[in-house]
Every structure is written in structure tokens, then in C-alpha cells.
Amino acid sequence: MPRLLEVRDLVVRYGPVTAVDRVSFSLEAGETLALNGPSGCGKSSTALAVLQLRRPDGGEVGFEGRELTTLTERELRPLRPRMQPVFQDPYGSLSPRHRIRDAVAEPLKVQGRWNAETGPARVAELLDRVGLDPSYGDRHPHELSGGQCQRAGIARALASEPRLLVLDEPVSALDPSVRAGVLNLLADLQDELGLGYLFICHDRAVVRHFADRVIEMRDGRISSSQLRRSPGAAPR
């Protein structure tokens, strides 16, 4: 079976600045790979290039055996649902004018998978799965706490039935107690669904706890790479 994600010699440039300089790594289903490093080290640029939200200037991104960098936008479209981003700012990533229920339903509608009869139940099921009472579907993002909003963002990502989640600082804006709940949720979802996580985070303690492997980035390059958790040592 092909690897979930195989990145080779990835390059991202912004004008004269090389933000990502020949970065290579791979990720299996059910595994968490953390990208750690200071602001400006290229970790978020790497994430955007993996998602093909910012087309890379060089290198290869293999996803479930398909090479993404050579695909047209049209050819990418059916693959996009399978790789979903979750961003840092839970309020900024949900439209303030849409109810939570509509935000979670939107991917299903866009992808032509919306069924007027079963759709609402599917949305309720997704909200329940991320630990939100389905009644929260009636609310707007500003009526939710930061942690609840981040859960809603995860529910929206799950609606597409992804295989890979690209989590860009998903818990950095949250209180420690709320952060713990969201990390537990992500761990449960991974165990249950076998999702691969590309986990971008600048908090070393969180990274040490949560990731299977950690890649440290600095000035656009990988400065070190290590195994954090051996599968036998930390039973799930």
C-alpha cells in the first residue's frame, strides 16, 4: 500500500525568499508527525504546500500514491476532501454569519454529497462525535467558547471523510484545560478512524506528548528529526 503522504525535496519561495528549502518527510495512516520550530521557520508554508493551497516551487508531494504537484486544479478537486486543514484561530476559520450546523454541512453540499433527508442527522452525528451537543448547531461561532469552536472546526473537517488532517497550531490559542480536551479528542479520532496527522505546533511540551515523530525546522530546512513515542512504550 502506498504511503499516506510522501514529501520529497519540497521548495516554497516567496519572491527572493526561500521559505521551505528541500524538505522531505513521510507520514503513515494513524501516525502523527509534528513540525516544530520558531515563527518563520517554514512550518506553515510546508503545510500549505502539502495541501496544495499554495503550489510548491519544487519537489514532490505524494498523497495515497498520487503525485499532487503535477495535477491540475480540476484533477485535484476530488482529492481535496481527503486532506483537510484545521487552523489555529477557531473563530477566524468559521464564517461568523453561518450557524455551526451550516458550516459543518457546507463541505457535504459543495462535494455534492448532501442528502436533504439524512444530511441533518449526519451533521448532528459529527457534532456529537467531537463532543458538542447537537443543539450547538443552531449557534453562531461567537456564541461558542474557543474550545467549542475548535471542535466545530474539527467536525467540519471530518464531514469530508478525510484521511489526512493538517493541523496548524490547533490548540495554541486555548487554555491548558481546554487544550487537553481537544488533544484527547484528536487522539480518539485518530485511534478510531486511522487518520494521519501533520501537526504543526510551536509548543515543545505538547509536541512531545502528542506526536509519534518530530521534525524540527529552522530557516526553511529540517534541522533534526526524531522519534518521540515508541509504539510499545506508550499504550493507546
Binding site: 467558547s145 491548558p176 484545560s177 487537553a180 485511534d191 510551536h202 509548543d203 511540551a205
Partner: protein, 327 residues
């Protein structure tokens, strides 16, 4: 404890439309100390910080007293004896004025000195926070500064009039660890240089551990626990403090982290008795009827009926029992 106060807060109450968000908070800030104010979002930390600066948001009504060396008009002291260290350095500086002019204006707002003297102090302040070639940089605009230099410039601005108290509300939340430690180091150096106390509002317990002398833990607008930071963080007396500590990654068992069950109550929808009781593993009958008042325990204050029942390894209260499945 009381006699050493530089800043004293007594029965502070802050309400919006009659609903109290800060509910009778009393504490002191001692000269030259770093007092961390911790708690979850909505606990009233930021409102308390704003009350210290006389900067409450529109619509807020305040009761109780805040006294800085006997002075109660805190807004009049802002920029002189008490100063804010802003969270967002970019929006704290005017984009259309030179950095040095902004610092000089801060000097001239409180002291009758010549423009030349104010400008000299501005350059000296930029130099103190480690901005290279400060004379030239003083003539630059904020957009010509890097993010780290802007952060230093606002610290220079906050300390330029040598205040007695600095108030910083989540000064490092948006920063990565390297920048965070750098900002806190510069802030610490300047605080010591001018002999100011620092009230540091943060939800980062690692910052508290490394930078605070004392910690004030707030929950639902009240004091939960106040004491030396190392004691509060290593042997909490209040179950709520224990719950906050338990959720740190270092307490993970396997992959799951302990969490505080439930969510904080909304102001105006408080339970009867102790506001934390519905989430508390030690709650007893009395906790659901009577709100606990802070009582002294050794060097600390704790507001909890059950503090004597909190085990030495208090984080154990929140450890999950092993379970077969989480779904």
C-alpha cells in the same frame, strides 16, 4: 502580608448590566514582585488587569477600591506610576510616527522636560532594551522594525517613566517559545532596572513557573488561591488549581490527558454555593450551598471548603480511571 502592599485591591466588583464578572476580589501587589494572575478564559483576569489601569471597557460598572500607594485615581497614574505592556506591539505603536517621537511624547506627557531631553531619554530607553544603533533607530517608523524589535520598543515605552507597577495581559500568547522567553527576559530586565512590580496575566503555567514570585488563581470572578508561585504550582490547595495543573502534557498517562470535567459557568448563570463545585471531584454538601471565602493557610490564601482534603498529589484528583473505550 497586608502591610507590604504597593497596590491594594479590595472587594473589586466589575459588572455588565448588573451581572458581575468579577465578584469581590481582594489582593495586594508587593513592591518589585511578579504576581501572575491565572485561570481559564472568562475567569475575570483581563477585566481585573484593566481595572488596575483604570481602563475598564464601556458599559462596565466597578465597585470596591484599587489603591496605588494611597492613590485611588488609577487612570490619572497610567503612564506614570502604573503602565501597560501591550500584547500586540504592532497595534500599540502608531504607524505614522517615528518610534523615538512616540517614546519622547510618553516622557513629555508626565514630565516637564525639553524636547531635546525627551528625545535623549527615548534613545537611552531603546538602547537599554538592546536595540542596536538606538540613535538611528529612534528615527525609524514601526514598520521598519522587526517583530522582536517592536516588542522591545513597547517594553521601552512602558518602562520609560519608571513606573511602580507594570501590567501585562498575555504579553506572549501569540509568540513561539524562543520569542516568548526573549520578551519575558527583556521585560524582566527592564522591570528590575526601574524597580517596578509586574502583574502578569497569563494562561501559560510554564511562564508562571519560570517568571512569577506569586500566583493568583481566579475562577468565575473570584480568588481561588493566592500564594508563592512554586508552592501553588507544586502543591495546590484548591482542587481547581490542581485541575489546571493536571491538564499539562507532563501529566499524561499514555496518550490521554487529564481534563477538568465540564465548562466554567457563564456570569449570571452561577450555581449556588462554590462556583467550581459542579466540576469538583471533592465537592461536598456545603460546597453546593455556601460560597467559600478566602482563608489564610500558612503563606497562602485559599477559598475552598475542602482544601484540607486535597491530597498532596493533588493532580491525581483529575486522573482518568482506566477505561475500555472512549467512544
Amino acid at each position: 502580608m497586608r502591610s507590604e502592599a504597593l497596590l491594594s485591591v479590595r472587594d473589586l466588583r466589575i459588572a455588565f448590566d448588573g451581572v458581575e464578572a468579577v465578584r469581590g476580589l481582594s489582593f495586594d501587589v508587593r513592591p518589585r514582585e511578579v504576581l501572575a494572575v491565572v485561570g481559564e478564559s472568562g475567569a475575570g483576569k483581563s477585566l481585573t488587569a484593566r481595572a488596575l489601569l483604570g481602563m475598564l471597557p464601556p458599559g462596565a460598572t466597578a465597585g470596591g477600591t484599587v489603591r496605588l500607594l494611597g492613590e485611588t485615581d488609577l487612570a490619572a497614574q497610567r503612564g506614570r506610576r502604573i503602565a501597560l505592556v501591550p500584547q500586540d506591539a504592532l497595534s500599540a505603536l502608531s504607524p505614522v510616527h517615528r518610534v523615538g517621537d512616540q517614546l519622547a511624547a510618553a516622557v513629555r506627557s508626565v514630565a516637564r522636560v525639553s524636547r531635546r531631553e525627551a528625545r535623549a531619554r527615548a534613545v537611552a530607553a531603546l538602547d537599554r532594551v538592546g536595540i542596536p544603533d538606538a540613535t538611528r533607530k529612534a528615527r525609524a517608523y514601526p514598520h521598519e522594525f522587526s517583530g522582536g524589535m517592536r516588542q522591545r520598543a513597547v517594553i521601552a515605552m512602558a518602562t520609560i517613566n519608571e513606573p511602580d507597577v507594570l501590567v501585562a495581559d498575555e504579553p506572549t500568547t501569540a509568540l513561539d517559545e524562543e520569542r516568548r522567553d526573549q520578551v519575558l527576559r527583556v521585560l524582566g530586565e527592564q522591570r528590575e532596572a526601574v524597580g517596578a512590580a509586574l502583574v502578569l496575566v497569563t494562561h501559560d503555567l510554564d511562564v508562571v513557573r519560570r517568571h512569577a514570585d506569586r500566583a493568583l488563581v481566579m475562577y468565575a470572578g473570584r480568588l481561588t488561591e493566592l500564594g508563592p508561585a512554586d508552592e501553588v504550582l507544586t502543591r495546590p490547595l484548591a482542587p481547581y488549581t490542581a485541575g489546571l495543573l493536571a491538564s499539562l502534557p507532563e501529566h499524561a498517562r499514555g496518550r490521554r490527558l487529564p481534563t477538568l470535567p465540564g465548562t466554567p459557568p457563564a456570569p449570571g448563570a452561577l450555581p449556588a454555593g462554590c462556583a467550581f463545585a459542579p466540576r469538583c471531584p471533592l465537592a461536598a454538601e456545603a460546597c453546593h450551598h455556601e460560597e467559600p471565602e478566602p482563608v489564610p493557610v500558612d503563606e497562602r490564601l485559599v477559598a475552598c471548603h475542602r482544601w484540607a482534603q486535597v491530597p498532596d498529589l493533588a493532580v491525581e484528583l483529575f486522573m482518568e480511571k482506566p477505561h475500555a473505550s472512549s467512544s
